[in-house]
């Protein structure tokens, strides 16, 4: 019995550490994108970043979808007793507080589902966008650009960096519990 609660505490430490790392990585992403060095994000890079954000939202929704069950499980766990009190130290019913948290988490999961869909729609909108280097020294007249864009292999033969529609995923597993929840 003693060993299993230590395992639970160890798991808790791992979960805290994973949450820290996820938060730090998101911070780094925001800092990188918002830095003055990166004032321009072309379509293909934005497409990839949106794809990662979309999946990131999906993984967060997996956590928020599962957390109510995991929290409720803690109330019935034979290894420990749960106590709750308010700010003034008055006793509260732990089950009621977990229920309140679960309601908020349910709303949060719904919003994450909406956010996921919007990220995917934004990604789709720029899925056919590409760019290539302008001819050195000579700027193009605006009227020339649609023509060059329509026939990208003409003119100077510079490579076009495009957003491949084949990379619109990765999509979540269709059979996963969370996606079923999100699609409801």
């Amino acid at each position: 019995m003693k060993q299993t609660i230590e395992q639970l505490q160890h798991q808790g430490e791992r979960q805290r550490e994973a949450a820290n790392q996820a938060s730090d990585a998101a911070h780094e992403l925001a800092r990188r994108a918002n830095s003055s060095d990166a004032s321009v994000i072309p379509g293909p890079a934005a497409y990839d970043v949106l794809g990662d954000i979309k999946m990131l939202l999906y993984y967060v929704s997996e956590v928020t979808d599962n957390l109510p069950h995991a929290l409720a499980g803690s109330l019935d766990d034979a290894r420990f007793d749960v106590f709750d009190r308010d700010y003034d130290g008055n006793q509260r019913e732990p089950r009621v507080q977990v229920q309140r948290a679960s309601e908020q988490l349910h709303e949060l999961t719904g919003l994450l589902s909406q956010a996921y869909d919007r990220a995917e729609a934004a990604q789709q909108a720029i899925s056919g966008q590409g760019y290539k280097a302008r001819p050195q020294g000579a700027g193009l007249r605006p009227s020339q650009e649609p023509l060059l864009a329509a026939f990208p292999d003409t003119a100077d033969g510079r490579p076009t960096i495009s957003t491949s529609t084949a990379r619109i995923g990765p999509r979540p597993q269709s059979g996963s519990r969370c996606r079923t929840e999100l699609q409801r």
Binding site: A19, A30, A33, I53, V60, V98, Y131, I161
Partner: protein, 186 residues
Amino acid sequence: MNKTKKTLDQLEAEGQQQEQSAQRARHAVSNLGLTVNGASAPVVPAPVACKLLKETGLLLGYLNQMIDYLPTALARSLDDPRISVSDHNCTGKFREPSTQIDEASEHMLALSAALARTVSYAEAARHAIEYQIYEERLDAATYTAELEAARKALADFPDSPSPDDAFSGMVRDLRRKHGIKPSRQP
């Protein structure tokens, strides 16, 4: 390497760095999902859930910052002198890049609004359980053994030669409450 080429390289390098940062964030959150939802972790006590919700709220806030900026940065790519932007649909037909960016920006605006609301829900969930704690539950044999040890310690504890001090008073109260007589006298 001329200046124009160099700055275009910089643009591409920046794009790769952004993509790498996004991948790192995705993998970190994927790892979080595995750690929390793994079969070995069906139970998450409130103190751990609070930490998860705190970090999740921060994470969503950072994502919101990122998404807020993305439409502007994307629109700037149309006017960047280093590159020429093109767009076509899945059949290869030309589309106006600015129209597509406007459409993407509308979705990103809605995405940002949704993310802004998620932060407050994560905070509200955390607030509901922030004072919840847990204590290890002893099994019956351990509990009985510890209770007997406490009873014996209380019975064996000698009365103080100065019986008016606070600690001696507490010992007397405990003995009276639990019906434990001292086994030896001072």
